[in-house]
């Protein structure tokens, strides 16, 4: 009961799971059942076709995140789990943002901002642009704030994908 760190913050968890139907359900159902809040989750095939990597970000204190990891490990479809060290990982999210550009002035402003943020214009129409932007959450949030005055029509975000830096890894030996 002592020394429990009560401070809530974002934690990034990397989990290697069986690449099979039903696994995402098992994982997300466990989060729902135990009352853990997922901020974002991204899943895709990992370095081997029989494995998928889930990057899960959750908000909580240390003891919550410890329980999350233990409950994940308890699932038989989950092979390996670790909490990524925020000071020693790379994380990226991709967002597609459809912005209103009713006139030439707006269009050129949006394109300028996109270049500053090293994004790409991936679709051009008469009155809108679709911007692709990657980066950490803060960068994407900042870009979205900048786009708001132009009028955001749609946003699709992937959630964070993350890996630890250097030779440290979460992998099956």
């Amino acid at each position: 009961m002592t020394n429990m760190i009560r401070e809530e913050r974002i934690h990034v968890i990397s989990a290697l799971v069986e690449h099979k139907p039903g696994v995402l359900y098992s994982v997300s159902n466990m989060f729902r059942r135990r009352g853990f809040n997922i901020e974002s989750i991204s899943v895709g095939e990992a370095e081997r076709p029989d494995l998928a990597r889930m990057t899960i970000t959750i908000r909580g204190d240390e003891s919550t995140v410890e329980q999350v990891v233990k409950q994940l490990k308890k699932l038989i479809c989950v092979i390996k789990v670790s909490i990524l060290d925020p000071g020693n990982m790379v994380s990226r999210e991709l967002a597609l943002i459809k912005v209103s550009t009713p006139d030439a002035r707006a269009r050129s402003d949006v394109i300028n901002y996109t270049e500053i943020f090293k994004g790409h214009v991936v679709d051009v129409a008469h009155e809108s642009l679709v911007i692709e932007i990657t980066g950490d959450r803060d960068k994407i949030n900042a870009f979205i704030e900048l786009m708001k005055p132009f009028g955001i029509r749609e946003i699709a975000r992937t959630g964070i994908a993350a890996l630890s830096r250097g030779m440290r890894s979460v992998k099956v030996e």
Partner: protein, 560 residues
């Protein structure tokens, strides 16, 4: 490789797992499997409700230590199993549930008797599998039994689409199973063991709390050896009842909301608690903030997610209970000096004396604590007791002493009314040579009494002792104590005459008005080869005490 149908492959796989009995009910989506069972050596006990099939498999598993198997058809058959599966999951009981499913091409089309049993049972099984082809069946069965019976035990479900049962293929029974995500930790970490030993040696007021994990891992002799070496009182959880003989001088009975005077006081006053194979459930700890305020806790459990979930221990040990206790004992015995602990043990004896007085308590007529003592006097030590849920369960837990592991079977975590009777049927199948007695209440028994038919027709004679107050007694007790006697929907007027009910099924029934009459009825039941229901009228004003009001600490016991 042998060419055969999926249904044949299933039964052959079950035989390779040494399955002797299946509790189940057939149906449309299971016809091919039941056709193979018709000629099989495996005994099939036809239950009358699938919930009972699951509870019977659970009772069989707890009594025998082997995996229990239940079977049901798709749709409602499968959903009727759900309460039983959830019950087995909460109490870590090794059960394999096999369900029929609509043919593969119909899945997702809302076909007749289709239900998503995989989706439904995901949070209440260790793991579940839907068979994709006949060829997969042997490996899935092997994996299911391995998962159910290892680590922290629990239920596994296998869902078999009907066409995979019919499909013929070359079947290989020798495929190895591979489980990258499942590697239970059995051996304790030596450093943690060393720390635990040091703490235990320094302890002045040690208490051991033994949970169901002790029984699951057959660690009772290790527990007793360690308790004696340490001279530490042993409390148990409900699931741990039977881990230490309750006539052992260091046994103090159950701890918790309905804990004994001794167990609750000693646990609160301990300076070191060794908690083994238990999970600090709310019913065990009382108000968790005030649980054992001055104590340091060593928590041993095979499921690492239990450690730190409800209580943060000072020394966590993830391991099998038997191995951990053995490792601690081996080191402790070399270092520990003979402990007297006269003050601590005197306290224990004093509290046990207060608890002993409570056998006399109760209202008019037959007093439940005295009745429990009477049952114990009559039954042999290896007789198996099951319970329903409510007052009956807590009277049994408090006042019916248990001397051997696997002889007390109760629905601990889920608290399932209706569990005890079908569990008794399962236990009797596992142990046909000992009397099996379900301590029931009227409210619980009517939830699953239809399986009197299964016990009579299946020649599985069990004994049901109905503590009959014509009430949902535990709910009434709470309404009496905490809701100003506003008895809302607890009066069970309209109950059947249990003697006639038993006779209607071809069982025998007795109604008794005194402990003397009860004694005769129970003796007759033990010697009978047919199921017996003994109706014992008790006062509806009867309360189970001791009791800790919800939210209070464990010492705040109401005694009468």
């Amino acid at each position: 490789m042998v060419r055969m149908s999926g249904a044949k492959a299933l039964i052959e796989s079950l035989q390779r797992e040494n399955v002797e009995v299946i509790f189940g009910i057939p149906g449309g989506a299971m016809l091919p499997v039941y056709d193979i069972l018709y000629d099989s050596d495996i005994r099939h006990v036809l239950m009358r409700h699938e919930q009972c099939a699951a509870h019977a498999a659970d009772g069989y598993a707890r009594a025998s230590g082997k995996v229990g198997v239940c079977m049901a058809t798709s749709g409602p058959g499968a959903t009727n199993l759900v309460t039983g599966i959830a019950n087995a999951y909460m109490d870590s009981s090794p059960v394999v549930a096999i369900t029929g499913q609509v043919p593969r091409s119909f899945i997702g089309k809302d076909a007749f008797q289709e239900t998503d049993i995989i989706g439904i049972t995901t949070p209440i099984t260790k793991c579940n599998f839907q068979v994709g082809s006949a060829a997969e069946i042997p490996k899935i069965v092997k994996t299911a039994f391995y998962i159910a019976s290892t680590g922290r035990r629990g239920p596994v479900l296998i869902d078999l689409p009907k066409d995979t049962q019919i499909e013929e293929d070359e079947i290989n029974f020798d495929e190895m199973i591979e489980l990258r995500g499942y590697k239970p930790t059995y051996d304790p970490h030596p450093l943690q063991v060393k720390k635990a030993v040091q703490l235990l040696i320094e302890a002045e007021r040690p208490v051991i709390i033994a949970g169901g994990g002790i029984i699951a891992s057959n660690a009772c002799s290790e527990l007793i050896a360690l308790a004696e070496a340490l001279v530490a009182p042993v409390a148990t959880t409900l699931m741990g009842k039977g881990a230490i003989p309750e006539n052992h001088p260091l046994s103090v009975g159950m701890v918790g909301m309905h804990g004994t005077v001794a167990a609750n006081h000693l646990v609160q006053e301990a300076d070191v608690i060794l908690a083994v194979g238990m999970r600090f459930s709310d019913r065990t700890t009382g108000n968790i903030k005030t649980f054992c305020p001055d104590g340091k806790i060593i928590h041993i459990d095979i499921d690492s997610s239990e450690i730190g979930k409800n209580i943060r221990p000072h020394i966590p040990i993830v391991a099998d209970a038997k191995k951990a206790l053995q490792a601690i004992y081996d080191q402790l015995i070399k270092k520990i000096e003979k402990k007297e602990r006269s003050e601590w043990l005197n306290k224990m004896r004093e509290f046990k004396g207060i608890q002993e007085e409570m056998f006399k308590f109760g209202g008019d007529g037959i007093k439940p604590p005295a009745l429990m003592a009477e049952i114990r006097r009559i039954l042999p030590n290896d007789a198996i007791i099951t319970t329903e849920v409510g007052q009956n369960q807590m009277w049994a837990a408090l006042y019916l002493r248990v001397y051997k592991p696997r002889t007390f079977i109760s629905s601990g975590g889920l608290g399932t009314m209706g569990f005890g009777f079908p569990a008794a049927i399962g236990a009797k199948v596992a142990c046909p040579n000992v009397p099996v007695v379900d301590i029931a209440g009227d409210g619980s028994f009517i939830m699953t009494e239809q399986d009197l038919a299964a016990s009579v027709a299946g020649k599985i004679p069990v004994i049901v002792v109905v503590l009959n107050n014509s009430m949902l007694g535990m709910v009434a007790q709470w309404q009496r104590l905490f809701y100003d006697r506003r008895y809302s929907s607890v009066d069970l007027r309209g109950l059947p005459d249990f003697v006639k009910l038993a006779e209607a099924y071809g069982a025998q029934g007795f109604r008794v008005q005194s402990v003397e009459e009860f004694r005769e009825a129970l003796k007759a039941a033990i010697n009978s080869d047919v199921t017996t229901v003994i109706d014992v009228p008790i006062s509806p004003e009867e309360n189970v005490f001791p009791m800790v009001p919800p939210g209070d600490n464990l010492k705040k016991l109401i005694l009468r």
